[in-house]
Each structure stands twice: as C-alpha cells, then as structure tokens.
Symmetry: C2
C-alpha cells in the first residue's frame, strides 16, 4: 500500500545523531508548522491544557500538543468539534496536534471497557453512555477532529499480564492496525489539512513479540511509529530494554514516539535510546498541585517553609512565573504561589504548571542545542 | 490637618464635564501610573482576579485592580505580604491597586463579627481564628500591603435597617475616620511608594445623615471620597437618589468612588450622576459561570443552543476570546467555550470572565471617548 497523497504534507528528517548514544535531532514538518525533536507534547485531554491559555503554552515553548480522541468523542462529540471547525479551532491552537486513539484507555479505564474482535465498547465515565469504537470509527473521529497526527485503535495490556495476554493483544492490535490504515487510505481530511497516521508497536516486555509487532506494522507502512504499552506496571529495566530494542528495529528516518512518559530523567534516558517524541501529564498535573521541578529535584510549594520566601521557584528559570522584571525580581515568588495554592486561587495552579512545562521544554531545548554539534 | 507629604504623589484632575449630566472625564495619577476615569476595578480579593494572569488583565484593558485588606490579613497575613515585597509584587501587577478595608464585611460577614467602639472582632470564615481590627490596625495592614489607595475601617449597616442603626453606625464611622486619618498621618509607607487614603460616606438612604457624614469627612480631609453602604438591600430609587445627593455635596475636584457596583446599566447611571470609580465581582463571577454580557443583554453559554455555534460570544468584540484571527474567525467560539464549561475545563471560566471584563472596560472606554468632546 502506498502512502496516500495527503500524507505527503508531512516530512521527518534526522538532522544530527549523537556519536555517544542513539540520541538524534530531528525536524518534523506538518501542515500546521514545524516541530524540532526531541519534542514534548503538553497534554490537553479535553481540548485544553488545564487552566493554560494557548498564548501561555507558546510562552512556555510548546510546539505541539496532545489531545484525546476518545474523551473528545464522549464530550462534546467529534461531530460537534467538526461543526466548530475542527480541534485546532476548538483549542485556539494553530500549531500541530496529535490525538491519542483511546487505545490506552483499554488499560486505564479497563472496568468500563468490553473488548471484542471488531473493536471496543466503552461506557463514558461521566454518564455511563455506551460508545462503540472500531478501528474505522477511531479514524473517522480523528477525521472529524482534523488533528495532524492520528493514532490507531490498539490494545494495551497491563505490564505484568501473562505472555498469552500479550500475544492475544498483539493479534488484535495487528488486525486493527491494518484496518486503521485501510480506513485512513479510503477517507479524506475534512478540514483542508492533510493528516498522518502512526502505527503503535505493542508486545509488552517480550522482545520477540515487539519484533513481530514492528515487522507487521512496517509492512503496512505508517508515517511514523509509536512504542506503546510501557510504564504500565513493568520494571524500569524492562522499559529501557524494550525501548532500546524497539528503536533498534524501527527505521532511522521515521519519527519514534514513546507514549505517556515520563519524569525528566525518563526523557533523558529515552532520548539517549533514540526516542523523538513524548507526552505526559506529569509536569502539568504536578504543577497544579504545587509540586515543581527544579534542577536539583522537586519542591512542594505548599510547604510552610516557603511562606515568606521572595525568591523565584528557580533562579535563572525564564518561565512566566520565575522571569525577572526590570527590578530584577521574579514576577511571582515562591511565597506568592504558595499563598495562591493555599487559598485555592487558580493562578497558583497555572503558575506551577507553566513553570513545569517550561522546565521540561527547556530541558529538551538544551538537549537539542547539544545535538546541533553533531550536524554534518 | 494638612495633606501629608507622601500623599502628594497622587493627583486627580477633572478633564471634561458632560453638559447634559453630571458625568465627568478624569485623570488619576498614582505612584504606579495613571488611571483615566470613569474606571472599573476588577476584583482580586485574595491578590488574584480568579484564574486571570496579569497579562490578560492588561489585555482586557484593566488599569487598576481592587483587593481586600481583611481577606489578605486572614491569609497569608499582611506581614507575610510585606515580607514578600508588598501586594503589587504578590499579584505580579505593577499598576495601581485599591484595597477595601473590611468595613463591608461588617455587612457581608455579619454573623462572624462583633463590633465594639474600638473596632471589630472578626472570626475568619475558613478556620475560626479571631482577628481584632481597629482603625489603626487597618491602616497598618494596608501599609504592609503597600497599596496605592487605602480605605479606612467603617461600619456598613443593612439597607433596610432602622434609622437609629444608621445614626449609631455614623457616629462610629466618623470616629473611626478621624482615627484612620491620624494613623495614616503618623505612619509611613513601607515599600517606597506613597499611599493615599479615602473617606467613606455612610448614612444609608437618609440624606441628612449622608450630609452629616460628608461634612465630617471633608473636615478631616481625605485624598478622595467613597460612597459606601449602597446596594445592600435598599430600593434602586433610593440608591440613585443618594448617589445624586452625595455627588452634589462632594468636592468637584476629588475622585468619587461608588463601592461594589454593579451591572453595566448601573455604571451608566452612576456615571451620569457624577461617579468616577467602580468595583464589582459581577463580570468575573458571572463570566466564570458562563453568563456573558453582550450589547443586547446576557447569554448563558452553558445552554445547549450554543453546542455547535461557531460564532464568537459577540461579533465585533475585541476580547481575547472573541478576537478574530488572520482567517477572520474568532479565537474561541461559543461552542468551544460551552464545551470547556461543560467538561469543567478552567479556560472556559477564564474566557467568560475575560470577555465580561473587556465588555465592562470597553463600555467605559466608549463613555470616556464621548466625554472627550466636552474638553475645554
């Protein structure tokens, strides 16, 4: 099967490769602009990164966002998003968006899901309404959304599941991948912009299952490949062994996405193993609760220790909260953010989340800068 | 008593007066910049306008904010605000701030307050801790905060209270006003910027009590005068009669502040009766709930009617949400905001509040523009 015409609006290029690790600098071109990799996608499950207006995401350095097709199908419905002009318009965000398919929810919402050969039946957590998701339906939902990067429906087994469960999941995921690609090839974008489809490599912690999965997906041909089904209960050693294994067999010239990871240290490790793309709720969710990342680790800004502390979350940080003004003092002190968190003022949560996003994105910017040296 | 040196950083000038009403265009100069009047102050009780970062308040056209000395004394404590560099730094807002004194809470938190001749004892709503507020203490709190415009402690009786209660309240308010001015004159700013003190005219719906109150305050001499104790249960007719009466006896060349008002129509009326300054939670509180102001009245964005509506809250509005992008479509549609409100995404509340603030501030901008014609 050949790559459909409209996928040609997409391009990925490896610009440089580290000589001491598998890390690489890349450039992803999409109809909504360019993303340099390694890249981190802030998570806006329902079409908004919680509490953060798009301008402030720009300000933090975000180039691409992640949203969730299944949750948007629950509310407001992808048909409604389509009528409102697509997800970019809903979000007020005119740069690239990737949507997850709902496959991960076969793990995270397992109690609400019945899986059958044709797809899954999901009960919406908020009202119990039933939604039938097939691979074809998931493509159609993402056509409605008009997102740049689409994920196919897959099955995500828990990390400690018996090998047979992974084998079964793999058979299903492979069959669904094929149907997803066919649905993708036989439908067209609704909002004027081309879209591209990922394949998702499953197979748990079993290298030969991962290999089977990758080989099958490569045969179908996707724009790019994700490594799914990690950080779902397996050991860290297994995580990195499998990442290393997968990046060893995935094509060099296609983007590699490790789904749902992780801590700043996780990102460092995954990048050194050849991963290009990440998403995680950690920086925003932690930040909203007052747990903020600094070079030395983490701080809990709710701690009474910070009550009278006029210093920024981290000296030298250029995030919206820490940034110095003309008087060389931070816009918001630890003491101020602690107060806002303490009285339930939403801007405390916003400032924590913005700091953490900036921390992540800046960390990647530094890594990218380092990789520039390996440009040929 | 002469005006203290440090009050001289303040200036108010009437630039133009309407020939058909008592409306006037004014210019208030403060150590944190200039405010043109009639002006509306968004309310940030705890040092933040709920969910709105300072940049976005700028964007909406805010020139001055209101915060609450009593609530900040509860949490985080005005001593803590002082250690953090004052309220401007806490809020990340480098333009003028006015703080209310807590006097209004003698009405709104009546069950938690014991009033005595020397001041009031307040139990904090969140933890029951007792706080003694005297006129002197309230000045000290606002010295700690370093706000530009300070209000003295006063007594606010309910609108339908018997006349004797207003008479008693007036005697107390007058004695406290004198003590406030003395405390103001005998203390100095802590954060480098001069501060100015208002007098608050009380007296309910009784013209001769209002007159007594005003005469006594004018004798003490304040930088400016507020009309308090309105919109607390009296009829609208009484409100406007008393405003008209008060602006008739207050000096022409000093700013006049009507506390805690109101709807857009209330602002129109009060401006025509000679009021210069306003604050109210209405635009932000309503906006957060999805009730938005448009030229023709109000819309409830939670209504299913707006589910698929791609139009802006109001065509032609230049607020952050309604503003057209290069493709001539609004940044956020009614349908998008409805979705965010519906799934509990905070940005729905932010967009509603920002629209309403812009609506209020723009309405005043149009009035000010109209008053330009009367410049001599």
């Amino acid at each position: 099967m050949t790559i459909p015409e409209w996928e040609k609006g997409f391009h990925f290029e490896v610009l440089a490769e580290d000589s001491n690790s598998k890390a690489r600098l890349g450039k992803l071109t999409t109809p909504h602009g360019v993303v340099f990799t390694p890249a981190f996608m802030p998570v806006g499950t329902y079409g908004a990164v919680k509490g953060i207006l798009p301008e402030m995401l720009d300000d933090a350095g975000a180039e691409i966002l992640l949203s969730n097709a299944l949750h948007l199908e629950f509310r407001p419905g992808s048909d409604t998003v389509a009528e409102l002009g697509g997800l970019h318009r809903l979000m007020g965000w005119n740069r690239p968006i990737l949507t997850d398919s709902g496959g991960f929810q076969t793990y995270s919402l397992a109690d609400l899901i019945k899986q059958h050969d044709d797809g899954i039946e999901v009960r919406a957590p908020m009202d119990g309404s039933k939604h039938q998701l097939t691979p074809e339906k998931v493509i159609q939902i993402q056509r409605n959304l008009g997102t740049d990067l689409m994920m196919p429906l897959d099955v995500c087994a828990p990390g400690q599941a018996p090998r047979q469960e992974f084998e079964r999941a793999l058979v299903t995921t492979q069959s669904w991948a094929k149907r997803s690609k066919e649905a993708f090839a036989s439908t067209e974008p609704l909002h004027g912009n081309p879209q591209a489809l990922f394949g998702i490599v499953q197979g748990g912690i079993h290298e030969n299952l991962r290999r089977q999965a990758a080989v099958a997906l490569l045969e179908i041909e996707f724009f790019a490949y994700a490594v799914g089904g990690l950080a779902v209960g397996e050991t860290k050693e297994d995580t990195w062994r499998i990442i290393d294994f997968c990046t060893g067999i995935l094509p060099r010239d296609q983007i590699r996405y490790m789904m749902g990871t992780g801590t700043p240290e996780d990102l460092d490790m995954a990048i050194s193993l050849g991963i290009d793309l990440f998403d995680c709720v950690m920086p925003t969710r932690n930040g909203r609760k007052g747990t903020v990342f600094v070079t030395e680790g983490k701080l809990n800004l709710r701690n009474a220790l910070f009550r009278n502390d006029p210093s920024p979350i981290e000296d030298g940080c250029h995030c919206y909260a820490c940034r110095k003004d003309e008087s060389d003092r931070p816009r918001f002190s630890r003491g101020a953010i602690r107060h806002f968190l303490n009285v339930g003022e939403v801007i405390g949560m916003q400032l924590g989340a913005l700091h953490n996003l900036t921390f992540y994105l800046n960390r990647l910017a530094v890594i990218k800068q380092g990789l520039e040296a390996f440009k040929t």
